[in-house]
Symmetry: C2
Subunit: 347 residues, 2 copies
DNA sequence: GACCCCATTGCAATCGTATGCACGATTTCC
DNA sequence: GGAAATCGTGCATACGATTGCAATGGGGTC
């Protein structure tokens, strides 16, 4: 034996040791296949002694399934996404799949390039978390028989499956809550304008305001980035005619806004300004921020995503599905409350 | 053509269309191989028309390299790790590798099970981020010719490569800084006792204290978890004889401790208690926490990890390496300063 | 013009596994 | 008890690529 120890063990070697054919070994390790108890036992024994485990790649070559799911992801600095990654990976792992990670570059046109790379790995499915993909490329995936699920991002194309939370209702609930709290000058700090989440949250918010004949008092763009949100807050809240409530398009930016208001501008939250966010990342519950927000349940979204994805993989031709998970208002201390203290407006 | 569009394209089909042999197609797509300019052109043209891209899995089967790196990871709620994942994935992507993620379960004995799964995918290398792996299994990887790099975790076995930051010096620097700041009753909130990072940070800290004849005034265990750290802080700081400075083994726990001190116990930081952490995650710089801490550079650690890993993969028999990246003190506002305001103690 | 060298290309084997087919042995059923 | 159905197993092939080997051909040298 060469120095370095044992080399790769193949099914043929196990077969030889067990005194059976290579096919028999394969059958023992293939769930649906038929093998007699004694055969199974002999093969397993030989396999254990040799430390044999089937080569997934070789298996994939012939079965056409790799048990790999490609995940395209981008904003890991927003705590919502690590949570998603963790839960998604764990859920898939439990069902025998694994996640191959692709970090999406900032520039949008490169996404297609990334998806190409994913396809090279013969993945069984793709999850794109909050990144755009050209319809053209989506169709190529479909053509190649590879299901795609859009996570936290809607798309006009009804042929694509998508999972998102109810961003519009969430935005609306926040508006109702702030109205009930007696606010009158509303600011909005937007995420990246190309995102459907951004669009829907804002739409829900301004629609409800409009029903009371109110328009946004101020609006700025934070692009879902911490530093840009801080900058947006500075310009929005400098000067006397500032909002008395601000909806920040996600929690990650809301933290930046709160810090600027408190530590740079000396404003009190919620006495001087109410701040609300969206996502309910764990940090939102920490006392330093204690942020009133809307819960986007990573758990529920991941469950839906996995269900849809596995369904598409294992059913030949299941129709595209879109799931919207509820997004309840989570009432904390960063926004003034309605007089009666409760909130009947989250519907 | 069946409904659903084009099926998978193989090199043989490209060959037919270009009027050349299948080997020729392979050579055009294999970097080192020889092919005439006109051949290359014809093949590329045919490939583009058909939308052909080589099947990485099939290639892996014969070359023995999958260009997949297995990453075992666990504590994604600590912001340091998403940062690592992002940088690691990006760095590997740039060098033509991709990351297959394996979430490690809490129980330690299951880790080996996870690594087995990884091996099934014929990965070219493994990075284990802050999780233990039995020496036995590490040797099996070595035997299989699969390099392993321990990230943020040391191990006695000198045959394993490892990357970590200088935890000991970091802990020592914090002790010197707090001593210079005039503190006298030192608390320590530990991470998970099985972790080398925990051990080394504490050792550096208490060693320096010992040089001044001081021992820990209080000690509690937070297991690197936010909620457990909060609980530890409650017990440590309830009662009159509380520490006037506390070193929390990482930033993630330090945030919990600060919140408890301020919002539950009404203590001022740093006037009543100084708090220092370890990692310098982005949030540590946010005004709400403004945490004095030690920087553990994800950037530098990832660079080292990738260098070592690729080296092991591409050089047949490169010796195990261990890298320690510097861990400088980052002075912010959560700890009282030495009288002269500067800090000459970070050496 | 004979020779050699090198670049280019095709043929065929190979990687490790799954699986259709054929065949023998066993069981089931009427 | 014989036919049919069922089960277990091995043989051989296929998956989609890489690569050693040999054949071809063109160019350079004397």
């Amino acid at each position: 034996m060469p120095p370095g120890g044992l080399e790769k063990i193949t099914s043929a070697e196990v077969a030889k040791r067990a005194g059976v054919s290579q096919s028999a070994v394969s059958r023992v390790f293939t769930p649906g296949a038929s093998a007699s108890p004694e055969m199974t036992q002999r093969v397993r024994r030989a396999a254990d002694e040799l430390g044999y485990r089937p080569n997934i790649l070789a298996r994939s070559l012939i079965t056409g399934r790799s048990r790999i799911i490609g995940l395209v992801i981008s904003y890991l600095e927003n705590n919502f996404y690590p949570e998603v990654l963790e839960k998604l990976s764990a859920a898939l792992q439990q069902r025998g799949y694994h996640v191959l990670v692709f970090m999406a570059p900032q520039s949008i046109d490169n996404i297609d390039h990334v998806v190409q790379e994913i396809l090279d790995y013969q993945v069984d499915g793709i999850v794109t978390a909050s990144v755009a993909m050209s319809s053209d490329l989506a169709m190529r995936c479909r053509a190649a028989g590879i299901p795609v699920v859009l996570f936290n991002r809607a798309q006009d194309d009804p042929r694509l499956s998508a999972v998102e939370s109810d961003n519009r209702s969430g935005g609306a609930a926040l508006a109702r809550f702030l109205l009930a709290g007696g606010h009158s000058r509303f600011g909005y700090i937007a995420g990246w304008e190309g995102a459907s989440t951004q669009r829907d949250r804002e739409a829900g918010f301004v629609d409800v305001l409009a029903q009371s004949g109110i328009t946004l008092h101020a609006r700025a763009v934070g692009n879902f980035r911490h530093d840009e949100a801080a900058e947006a807050a500075r310009t929005m809240f400098t000067g006397p005619d500032r909002p008395d409530a601000v909806f920040v398009a996600n929690d990650h930016m809301a933290f930046a806004v709160m810090d600027v208001l408190r530590f740079e501008l000396g404003l009190r939250i919620p006495e001087d300004v109410s701040v609300v966010g969206f996502d309910d990342v764990p940090m939102a519950a920490w006392p330093s921020y204690n942020l009133t927000t809307v819960r986007q349940s990573a758990e529920a979204m991941v469950t839906q995503t996995v269900d849809i994805l596995i369904d598409h993989i294992e059913q030949d031709d299941s129709a595209p599905r879109r799931a919207t998970v509820p997004a309840p208002l989570i009432q904390r201390g960063s926004a003034r409350l309605p007089d009666n203290g409760s909130n009947p407006y989250d519907t």
